[in-house]
């Protein structure tokens, strides 16, 4: 019994980190959100919910939320469906399946800054994707995809789908691997082809993998930042301004720490609601 208590000391590093680098900042930030803390002054007064009510009528913040939602709901369905299709095909153990799996994953291990720079070039006027559109007879925006209000956010979303797919292919593949092989053998015996097997065995049994993929991707997509920083800084006309970029811009660049903390908390609450809702929906379906 004594050793069981002594062993608890081994958990100290996490307890210290939990307190100092997680719980303290999370609550400190909540406190800051109720103050008019300015970076330059290094102090601020308690102002109650003023930041929150100002934010909810700040058109720039609302635009950043709108763009973030657009980004999240625009990319996740596409990424999920494509990743599932690729995973189903790769799982058929066709020649070279290992190579496909590895190659699709390469964007996921590459620094986002690097990817954003490459795509900045490809999307620019005269860049490869720009020229490709011209060859296809479409007329790309005159100054490049990232310079037009209509296409900038969409272009970044397309890039995000490209980046994220490999990771989710991998997770779907792991899910498929955990399905008992006997099920497939029975189906093959009954003469079920790829589409039948996928529709009646694989996809229904991947429910919890789906849940995981969607929740994970939601949390990630709501926090999109690096590509905005490198590619557009929110331009043109705030059309690519996302919520985390807003927090960064107001809090760090302009030093309105209090105001930006309130924005961070609003985003936190939205995200929490979404994650809980998604978990709920999934659990309801599971028990049904």
């Amino acid at each position: 019994m004594r050793t069981k208590h002594k062993i608890l000391l081994f958990t100290l590093p996490w307890i210290v980190y939990l307190l100092v680098f997680w719980l303290y900042p999370i609550s400190y930030s909540l406190y800051l959100s109720f103050t008019d803390f300015k970076l330059l002054q290094g102090s601020g007064d308690f102002i109650g919910f003023t930041n929150y009510s100002n934010l909810l009528s700040d058109p720039v913040f609302l635009t950043s939320l709108k763009n973030t939602f657009y980004f999240v709901f625009g990319t996740i369905p596409v990424t999920t469906v494509l990743a599932l299709i690729f995973a189903l095909l790769i799982a058929e153990k066709i020649p070279g399946h290992k190579i496909f799996q590895a190659a699709y994953f390469i964007p996921s291990i590459t620094a986002m800054v690097v990817i954003a720079l490459i795509f900045y070039n490809l999307y620019s006027r005269g860049g490869y994707l720009f020229s490709l559109c011209q060859i296809a007879g479409l007329s790309p925006p005159e100054n490049g995809f990232l310079q037009s209000e209509k296409t900038a956010l969409l272009s970044i979303m397309a890039m995000d789908v490209w980046v994220a797919i490999g990771y989710y292919v991998l997770i779907f593949l792991a899910g498929i691997k955990s399905i008992p092989i006997e099920l497939y053998e029975a189906a093959r015996g009954d003469g079920a082809g790829f589409f039948r097997r996928s529709a009646s065995i694989t996809i229904p049994l991947l429910k919890s993998t789906f849940a995981f993929v969607i929740v994970l991707n939601t949390i990630r997509s709501f926090q999109i930042f690096v590509e905005i920083f490198v590619m557009t800084s929110g331009r043109p006309f705030n059309s690519t301004l996302t919520a985390v970029f807003f927090i960064f811009e107001r809090g760090i660049s302009r030093g309105s720490i209090g105001y930006a903390s309130a924005a961070a908390y609003i985003l936190f609450i939205i995200l929490l609601t979404f994650s809980l809702l998604q978990f709920k929906l999934i659990n309801v379906r599971k028990s049904a």
Partner: protein, 270 residues
């Protein structure tokens, strides 16, 4: 008909996707060898020059950035190896009524979006006087909740006989941990270290916020701030990108199995 579909149509389709997935990386590498000032690749004046790499290392401090990235990533990885294994061991072998809530706290922190931490951590680092030093880039990241989670799960599956035998022989708890438990954790630690190393090497948001002098930049920060992409010298920019990305890609191709294992291990156990 069905056979033909699986035999060549599916591989053909997946190959086209493969080309789309790796083309930007090939483009990056090839563009980094073109004459300075080129905007994109063209067959007419295809070049093979190392000039851009010279620019990147001589006038852009990439040597320093590379060192900072490597040093920070290695330090963070080393810290996580020791601390997460310790915590995992404590959580796995301690009294469950106490360890369970601690374990749950780690799982809960996995779900906390990091954007809530941006401003308070920035503010804390200023107050500690750690801003723009290695301390800010390393110390807050030494015990990752993901690592605590993975190591606890792994150590749960290890037998306790060896530990008990050592205890009967009068070995101290610390030496039991370092001499018996830690070596047994090697497979899980390999997975964890790859994961932590990659995340730290590629990370941009916190290194950007917590530094403001070029001698402290890591590769992603130096790369993003090197020049305005609107007016940039693309081959130089791509040479810098290649320096940041290629080592990781090669590393991945070598340790592919470990890396993918780590990702799916973290994914499936939830």
């Amino acid at each position: 008909m069905k056979k033909a579909l699986m035999l060549w149509m599916v591989p053909a389709f997946l190959s086209i996707v493969l080309f789309i997935m790796i083309f930007p990386m090939i483009y990056m590498i090839l563009l980094s060898f073109q004459e300075p000032g080129s905007f994109s690749l063209s067959l007419r004046n295809f070049g093979l020059t190392l000039k851009n790499y010279a620019v990147v290392f001589k006038s852009n401090n990439f040597g320093t950035y590379f060192f900072n990235s490597a040093f920070v990533a290695l330090a963070v990885t080393a810290g996580n190896i020791v601390f997460c294994a310790m915590v995992g061991y404590g959580l796995s072998r301690g009294n469950i009524r106490i360890t369970w809530p601690i374990f749950l706290s780690a799982v809960a922190m996995l779900m906390v979006p990091v954007h809530v931490l941006i401003l308070p951590i920035f503010q804390m680092m200023l107050k500690f006087g750690w801003f723009d030093t290695y301390l800010a880039l390393i110390v807050p990241w030494l015990v990752a909740p993901l690592g605590v989670f993975l190591m606890k799960q792994y150590i749960d599956g290890l037998p306790t006989d060896l530990e008990d035998a050592a205890r009967v022989d009068g070995a101290g708890e610390i030496s039991i941990f370092f001499k018996i438990v830690l070596p047994l954790c090697k497979p899980a630690l390999a997975v964890l270290s790859v994961q932590i190393f990659l995340t730290t090497w590629n990370s941009f948001l916190f290194p950007k916020i917590l530094t403001n002098s070029s001698k402290m930049y890591t590769l992603p920060v130096g790369l993003a701030l090197m020049q305005d992409p609107r007016s940039s010298d693309w081959p130089v920019s791509m040479a810098g990108s290649t320096v940041a990305a290629l080592p990781v890609i090669i590393f991945f191709l070598i340790f592919q199995k470990r890396i993918t294992e780590g990702i799916t291990a973290g994914a499936l156990k939830q």
